[in-house]
Symmetry: C2
């Protein structure tokens, strides 16, 4: 039970092509693939890390999506996701410890930044 | 050469004891050790992840330290550090790609947030 390892970092940017160019040319990562989620209103670019885990760059296609709204506070880290052993038990333990969760029971569970001193933590079942 | 894997996440908080309580009780991590750096003007708490890497919670002892100044923008993620294969060659390649580095040649090298769409990336030689 609990967080076991880093899974991925999500960086929100205004323009997906600029974000891809930055993480490819300046940071030096290899672009693995791009995708688009109509449901989330975002374009995505995935950069795998050789040792495991990945960096995901996202840009909104809908300004009222969660990413679009967060961009009003600027570009930067959107979420950091950790692999979790036994998601349901981990959620129960976190709530017992006083954490506020977002999206519990759904495919993506987050810990509210109010519960982490400002970090939107994503929990990914391993 | 280049980024290979996640190394650690640094979260800045106002009060180290509150930060420790949060990451222990709400996030459910086990406190590994605490430390204090007079040179950096911070107190630190380290939470190891079972699968590798760690989360470091930091609070300033000096309000004019880098962490103290960053806290004026609020609590949250301070840096995210990735292990790097061949730090010197990676720095050269990043600069050739247009990245602005901070602290090159020293023990801690960072990529300026202007070069990463708002992420203070730390490079840790593996």
């Amino acid at each position: 039970m609990g967080l076991t390892a880093f899974d991925h970092l999500v960086v929100r940017v205004e323009d997906i092509d600029e974000g891809i160019a930055t993480y490819r040319d300046k940071v030096g990562l290899e672009l693995d693939r791009t995708d688009e989620s109509e449901a989330l209103g975002i374009k995505q670019a995935f950069f795998n890390l050789p040792g495991g885990g990945f960096i995901e760059v996202v840009a909104p296609t809908d300004p009222d999506s969660a990413v679009g709204r967060a961009l009003r506070r600027g570009e930067g880290i959107h979420t950091v996701a950790f692999a979790v052993d036994d998601l349901a038990a981990t959620c129960e333990a976190m709530k017992a410890g006083g954490a506020q969760l977002i999206g519990e029971g759904g495919p993506q569970v987050f810990v509210h930044p109010k519960s982490t001193h400002g970090v939107l933590l994503q929990l990914s079942e391993a």
